[in-house]
């Protein structure tokens, strides 16, 4: 009963009127997600390589980076890159600050996921590659990394989905992506429930599409898996 009364008060014409703005925001959300995924994977791969290397300094650095970022909120990092760095005379545009913050945070989680993947590859694989005369670098690139990536992909995928959802936090420092665009419309029209319901649906559908893509990638990668 309450739900029916509540639903009767919704007026979605406000969403219809703002569709061009929301579509532009959605494009930015996808663009930031794509850039964030590239950044997070880069941080994750470099960090995991350091984390499993023979150098003690590299291991310590990568571990400290991963543990610190994983245990601190992404929103604080977004504020840090946007509001705090200007104190050190480094001024970044909102999109750059937000994307770097998310790439570092989600990348730190990716380091741990990829490290676990590398360690899950049986030692015999590396030994066999070594016996065939492959250099340590070749062993990693041709034998260990492809298998580690396949093992890591399900957990890595959840991390990338989290990144998509976390792009909404960038609205706190600018209005360019979809959540920020919606907040801007709400500030003018003073009507919010319809927009937040629309945003919820937008993110749900986007998460669904991204996870479908990830499942497709998983299936492709495990074609030749034993």
């Amino acid at each position: 009963m309450i739900v029916i009364v509540a639903a009767a008060q919704l007026d979605f014409s406000i969403v219809k009127d703002s569709l061009p703005d929301l579509a532009r925001g959605a494009m930015w959300t996808y663009a930031i997600t794509a850039m964030g995924i590239v950044g997070a994977l880069f941080v994750g791969v470099v960090g995991a390589a350091m984390r499993t290397s023979n150098s003690r300094i590299a291991r310590t650095l990568a571990t400290a980076f991963a543990e610190f970022f994983r245990n601190t909120p992404p929103l604080v990092w977004i504020f840090f890159f946007f509001f705090a760095l200007p104190n050190a005379h480094i001024t970044l545009p909102a999109v750059a600050a937000g994307t770097i913050a998310l790439a570092f945070y989600q990348g730190a989680i990716a380091i741990e996921i990829l490290r676990a993947g590398i360690e899950a590859v049986p030692a015999g694989q590396r030994e066999a590659a070594s016996a065939l005369g492959l250099s340590p670098f070749q062993q990693f690139v041709y034998v260990v990394a492809p298998q580690a990536f396949r093992i890591s992909l399900p957990a890595l995928g959840n991390n990338l989905i989290a990144l998509l959802k976390n792009t909404s936090l960038i609205s706190a420092i600018g209005i360019i992506e979809i959540t920020g665009v919606a907040n801007d419309i709400i500030a003018i029209k003073l009507s919010s429930a319809e927009l937040f319901l629309t945003l919820g649906a937008f993110y749900l559908i986007s998460v669904f599409i991204l996870s479908a893509l990830l499942r497709f990638a998983e299936a492709r990668l495990s074609r030749y898996a034993v």
């Binding site: 008060q9 543990e67 245990n71 504020f79 509001f83 705090a84 937040f196």
Partner: protein, 214 residues
């Protein structure tokens, strides 16, 4: 820079209690709600399964920020009584936490050998007694590490409440920097360490415990 220590004192005195209250209250909802939803899944009723799965997928598929905005700004517009900033943040964090808690409880219950339930039922115990005295006590131990990492996620996510705004540690920093922008860097570094010192011991303990239980 001489303003730093008094400013940090205010962040800790006024901000930290709200961060802790939100995290603990939301976690209580997450554990309670998670148990109810997780046990409902164990009933293996198709209708209940569909309802719980829909709840879990929706709450985990939308950003917590959207949920928090909807609870705080959207619900009063739909005729619900307006609730305060802190309560709205706790409700949103709790609903989201309960969705994650449901998955933790379900996973732990289904990880217990089916023979345990069958043996209990064969002894003539009813389903609820089997669940509460045989399955859940064993499953609860396996839930501890994932619930600990959920708590660290709740602590981190409570920072979003600064945007509606609740005066948590992050919002306290923003208030302080309105008159003194040069405090952004030192205060945010301090806030990062506050979160780190709460979360790191818990996530470390969670990893250790997980290895021991495995």
């Amino acid at each position: 820079m001489s303003d730093f220590w008094p400013a940090l004192r205010d962040v800790i005195v006024y901000g930290l209690p709200n961060t802790i209250i939100m995290s603990v209250a939301a976690m209580a909802i997450a554990v309670g709600g998670g148990f109810v939803l997780g046990v409902l899944r164990a009933l293996r009723n198709k209708v209940l399964d569909a309802l719980v799965i829909a709840y879990v997928e929706i709450l985990r598929g939308i950003p917590v920020l959207i949920l928090m905005f909807f609870v705080f700004f959207g619900l009063p517009q739909l005729g619900f009584n307006a609730v305060g900033n802190l309560q709205s943040a706790i409700i949103a964090l709790g609903l989201w936490g309960a969705a994650n808690g449901a998955e933790i409880v379900r996973g732990a219950i289904f990880s217990i050998d089916k023979g345990q339930t069958e043996a209990g039922l064969a002894l003539g115990l009813n389903w609820l007694t089997v669940m509460t005295t045989i399955v859940l006590p064993q499953a609860s131990r396996r839930m501890i590490p994932p619930f600990m990492s959920l708590f660290t996620a709740v602590v981190e996510t409570s920072s979003l409440a600064a945007l509606i705004p609740v005066r948590d540690v992050l919002e306290s920093v923003r208030i302080k920097t309105e008159s003194e922008p040069s405090l952004w860097m030192p205060l945010l570094i301090a806030v990062l360490f506050i979160y780190f010192f709460i979360n790191y011991p818990i996530s470390l303990a969670s990893q250790r415990l997980e290895k021991r239980l495995a």
